[in-house]
Symmetry: C2
Subunit: 195 residues, 2 copies
Amino acid sequence: MAEPSDLLIPIAISARHAHLCRRTIDVLFGPGYQLQPRNPLKQVGQFAAQETVALLGPHARIENVRVLGPPRSENQIEISHSDEMALGLHAPLRLSGDLQDTPGVTLEGPLGRVPLMGGLVRALRHIHMSPADAVRLGVHDHEIVRVAIDGARPVVFGNVMIRVGEDYRLELHLDTDEGNAAGVEAGTTARMFRA
Amino acid sequence: MAEPSDLLIPIAISARHAHLCRRTIDVLFGPGYQLQPRNPLKQVGQFAAQETVALLGPHARIENVRVLGPPRSENQIEISHSDEMALGLHAPLRLSGDLQDTPGVTLEGPLGRVPLMGGLVRALRHIHMSPADAVRLGVHDHEIVRVAIDGARPVVFGNVMIRVGEDYRLELHLDTDEGNAAGVEAGTTARMFRA
């Protein structure tokens, strides 16, 4: 049985970012271009690249959107609710990789533009964890839990999905709207509890 | 005893805005200038003015910040956590009117600038209500409650202050970060419950 102190979850705020496929990188940055790692992310093998792209929507463009590596098989552009309102585009709430029937957005890089046919999403908030953490915390993959973030502006977020993977490190992923609403700062942790 | 259906609270999202005193209006817009109402707010006598100001911080300027009327005895500039990070200024969480030891920000209008010595805050989230609503809902002035907002991204906000006044209309005030995190749209209501 997990003790309350075991249930403290480190938080990562996901700013808007782009996962790109090989073909898109070729058009935006040049054929065969290799993304340059800027800093590693906590999830094993993932990194923030030095490269950024611009997102072009009907109402606005958003500059300096960080590219994450390594390349993926499909483009996936993750933005916040604030961003979708600024761009003038609707981005459905999706689990990473679930891109069917998602709208597109036009990407711009130093060498060209790619009008995507899909891949624009808001990420469902979720907690990454290893199988060992899942056993310790008493939850299973795809279980829906709640998390509480304490402080001057306490918030409880419902509908948080557990994602278990061998390479996953324990981390709650929120977008910038959620992080700002809860006043998340470096070192802020969340308390997980069953929905 | 209030029934659950009685506890549905209409929501207003407060975008960044400025309450100005007479002297500040004189410098920014001209001596004796009268704010021009653009649209009334739900709280009696309050209005959004046609006038806007710019906020100048060390990191950025924010344009088109709506002025609310009528003029107040003290300047009070209300921004979100996102805004304070963009400006490069810290804005403490305060109840409206509690401005002691708050930082300033420079305001710019069409005729001049005013470097405020204080008045920059993030508004504590709160629910306005009449004395009759307070009796009906079983709460009292300055009581702290929680509110739940349902939907695809359910959220519970703690530390919500009840504000009772003769002229107040029932309305939960959130800032843009909070509204975006909870996916608040026109017509979204919140459920109030005791903390």
